[in-house]
Symmetry: C2
Subunit: 378 residues, 2 copies
């Protein structure tokens, strides 16, 4: 017996990433799995069918998803759920918050749905952390997009005809995305400042050569798992005053503030945008969760008082070829822990803390306690 893994072609322009790479295919076939990759699945990530084939995969039709014991996805495969056999495992970015109906459907279908984004932030799971791997690239791409929209140069340039001053970039939220945005803006020669409500972020910001901006009123708002907690009304007011005075002088602002399972906090108001000089650029990386910037619209560049505000729904997808390689590695690392090579089958240990943290549905029921499931099995 062997485990059959299926890798679907995702939804094209909306989701150009793919959940397997030639590397991950090679490792999985090495573990005795049979890997089926849907024709064209890697096209938008610059991986050809030939490359998958060479790595040991079989190029398959969409309908071959029926054969899968494991389905590796980028997004939750709602529309194909009826084709997936009972008992199969699905690994994906499940986007489980406010998705009760979809979770119920997966439970009913009898699949074991793993939400990769719920992977705990512990050392053992670092290599499986899809939020980090994708946010890192999103932070890079945010600066590239900002530089592309901006109609001045980022670096200081000393020329025979005078000096072009360095652009001032401000990064709000110094998590994985924010730190990579800081590093990339620094690479391009911008003068970079950053803020975060978690006190620990200050040192990291400074280690990248940027200046940390924070109000005394807010000592620390660290929450669970390295994320920030929501601020109190007073804290929000102090933060807002600080931002308002700082932002007026900025050329480029990149916002990355997210609170897990909650709408993104509004950090930049229309009045703040209007205080910036025409030509400034704002990139809102939180637009998928409602946005950190007032007036930001998904997948649009909005102009407010001469300032361009851009928010893309799928930033890692804009850099899909790199994003898919890292994502595939994340999935592989997790899947490997569940492959029983001897028996040639998947073995889900419900006592494993990684499984506990990510498994949404199993054996016909919602099992995750955050989504109304019963307590995890002993």
């Amino acid at each position: 017996m062997s485990i059959t893994i299926f890798v679907p072609r995702e939804s094209g322009a909306d989701e150009p990433r793919v959940a397997a790479s030639p590397d991950s295919v090679k490792k999985l076939t090495g573990l005795g799995c049979s890997v089926l990759v849907e024709r064209g699945a890697g096209e938008m990530s610059r991986i050809s069918d030939e490359e998958y084939d060479k790595a040991g995969a079989k190029i398959a039709a969409a309908s071959d998803i029926r054969k899968a014991d494991v389905v590796l996805c980028v997004r939750r495969p709602d529309s194909r759920l009826s084709q997936i056999k009972k008992g199969a495992a699905i690994l994906a970015i499940m986007d489980p918050f406010e998705a009760d109906k979809e979770l119920a459907a997966m439970a009913k279908a009898g699949v074991s749905a793993f939400a990769m984004e719920l992977m705990p932030r512990i050392t053992r799971a670092q290599v499986m952390d899809v939020l980090s791997s994708q946010a890192n690239l999103a932070g890079y791409q945010a600066v590239i997009d900002a530089a592309h929209l901006y109609d001045r140069a980022l670096p200081m340039m000393m020329t025979a005809a005078g000096t072009v001053p360095a652009a001032k970039a401000f990064v709000m939220g110094a998590g994985v995305a924010g730190l990579q945005a800081i590093a990339t803006a620094r690479r391009l020669g911008a003068a970079v400042t950053a803020t975060d409500v978690r006190a620990a972020a200050g040192e990291q910001v400074q280690s990248l050569g940027a200046k940390f901006i924070m109000t005394d009123a807010l000592k620390d708002a660290s929450g669970e798992g390295g994320y920030a907690r929501e601020l109190t009304a007073e804290e929000r007011k102090a933060q807002s005053e600080l931002v308002a005075s700082h932002i007026a002088k900025q050329d480029i602002v990149i916002t990355t503030a997210l609170i897990p399972g909650r709408p993104a906090p509004k950090l930049v108001t229309t009045a703040m945008i209007e205080s910036m000089r025409p030509g400034a650029v704002i990139i809102d990386l939180a637009v998928e969760r409602g946005g950190n910037v007032e007036g930001a619209k998904p997948d649009e560049v909005v102009t407010i008082g001469g300032v361009r505000v851009a928010g893309y729904l799928n930033m890692p997808g804009k850099i899909a070829a790199s994003a898919s390689l890292l994502y595939a590695k994340n999935l592989l690392a997790f899947l490997e822990t569940m492959i029983d090579k001897e028996a040639g089958k998947l073995s889900i240990d419900r006592d494993d803390e990684l499984v506990k943290a990510t498994l949404l549905t199993h054996d016909g029921a919602i099992v995750h306690d955050r989504f109304g499931g019963s307590a995890p099995a002993k």
Copy 2:
């Protein structure tokens, strides 16, 4: 008496730059000139009418061009020539090659037309060198555009989920634009190689931390004024073989090869493009002169065998706010040499080598020897 200077609003999206900045206006009014800036002239370069006004300019109507003793332009103002008074001077990027009809019209109109791009490359004129100031920004923008189109990261990234390799960038032509492209690609962490037919470029390329690629068959093809001469058939063949083997391994190619007054040399063939891996990006900075890349189309991104080839007609215009400041400084520096402050009028010294090199038409005739004019006045 005083000199009246007019700064028109250029043609918008096609030409977002403007020929004066608040700084240059302040200097010119300080020299006793009266400066008229057409309403909205600076809008696309992020300079408001208020800023010009504060610097001492008068915001003027389009028709006020009739009052001008000097017209400062980005592009040749063909459509407004009839409104410009006889004897007035026009400073612009005149694009005089293959523009016989337009030159004749300027001669007939009795204007003194100065082609800023013909400024000699001598120390005294460095600050007036519009080709350098604008090419510098074009080289920067070429890399930003390439990074934006490219669906992988440029820098090497070492993450928990594995390493993203650095992109390989190849810059063809290491003049002002090429050198800035090299510097910017290096900033972003790409592995950069470059080639040039002028032997002197090798050292400059290496000083920026890039690898210089050149065939032994081609020792040196330096031409006049720091530019390259045209290659012989044999040299072209050796160069082409070198490029063909190198380019197949590149992720990003930026071409910047220009020969003054001649079509751009074709450096990259369709076969070479097809040898590159899907997802690679080529930016052709010579597309205004026919392009260095086969199949490149002005202001389009063409996909050839999965490789995207982009060529923009006005690359400095994509970074107009910075480009206009430097361009305005270039014009100011040249204009200053011709202002007779005592007499309050323009004084064109036809023996000055800067005037000799740039003056196309004067007193009703074409006077530049490269464009069929009589020899310069003694």
